[in-house]
Amino acid sequence: MDLPLIVYSPEEYIETSTGNKVYKKASIYGSQNIVLSGKCVLQKDCILRGDLAPIRMGKFGIIGENSVIRPSFKNFINKGPQGSFIHVKIGDHVFIGKSCIIMAGQISSYCHIGDGAILGQSCVLKECCEVQAEAVIAPDSVFPPFSLIGGNPARVIGSTAPCTADMMIEATQEYYENFVPKTSARAALM
């Protein structure tokens, strides 16, 4: 089915010059460290902890309601117990569902993360992966491109369609265009 038109009230969201639509009251910490490459949508009540480590998001990224993106801590064992919070890199055209908890180190482009998923510390998701709803991904896991991931603890349960990249580009672009303020002409036509 087509993606629905989502109408928001313009007082609640702010649209930046690069086209990012961000919920004003979203808990965004350390916004200097957060880079949204453009045309991203950050929905209601999402939490981005840029104060711990830089977060970088590609274009047409969509973060659903109540999701948390939080850099995780990695220990280096070279000279005694030391470590730092690792930089979170999220690729282009990534769709993150509602109430997800993302502690991943890297989510490559064209991934789709279902509602309620939990991505463990420092995990790496390669391109075109799909994480099913309510999946729990173990810390430090790596998933190859085109994997369909599900379960608790999460495993590769199948593979995504080969044309996933094109489909995610279409879906995220359409979602972004359907996310309109009440005052726009399209919302009036509804």
């Binding site: 350390g30 104060d51 030391q82 470590g83 939990i118 603890p153």
Partner: protein, 168 residues
């Protein structure tokens, strides 16, 4: 109902970091070294809560004391994002995974590791070094404590005051 806040931060080195944007209510005591992240909720609704040293309480955690006895939490516990704790007592060196639930009256001893989305049933007592994991809440005994979060805490102490206001 607005409950009166009564927060005591015990002096010590390193100092406890309780962020202003967390939701605290009731009588709470923090020992030295505790770190409370923003959006965490600690509600001493019916009875006081006392935290030991160097506890790490992350975002969206709910720690509530519904009984009238004080809830005493030992040192070096790690409460990960979204967990809900209604326990009657908590020991030391435990890890409460993401979105785990500890029901009313449960007693958690030392070195336990409760995995993501796992459930500790009401009035259940967990022996030391129990590990709960997976979809079906499997239990097993571990041979050692969960890894220490000391280096993470040191790092947080440097980073958090830069971006958040701390309750003094």
């Amino acid at each position: 109902m607005e409950q009166k806040k009564d927060i005591t931060i015990l002096p010590g080195d390193p100092a406890a970091l309780v962020v202003e944007t967390s939701n605290l209510s009731g009588k709470i005591k923090f020992s030295s070294g505790c770190i409370v992240h923003p959006t965490a909720s600690i509600k001493a609704t019916n009875g006081p809560i006392e935290f030991g040293e160097s506890n790490l309480i992350e975002e969206q955690v709910v720690i509530e004391n519904l009984s009238e006895d004080p809830l005493i939490i030992g040192p070096n516990n790690h409460f990960e994002i979204g967990c809900v704790i209604h326990a009657s007592s908590v020991g030391k060196n435990n890890v409460f995974g993401v979105r785990s639930i500890v029901e009313t009256g449960a007693k958690i001893t030392d070195g336990c590791s409760i995995g993501p989305k796992c459930l500790v049933k009401p009035f259940e007592k967990l022996s030391p070094r129990t590990v709960l994991c997976g979809n079906l809440n499997c239990e097993r005994r571990s041979n050692d404590d969960p890894p220490s979060i000391a280096s993470q805490m040191d790092h947080l102490r440097l980073v958090i005051p830069k971006y958040n206001k701390i309750i003094k």
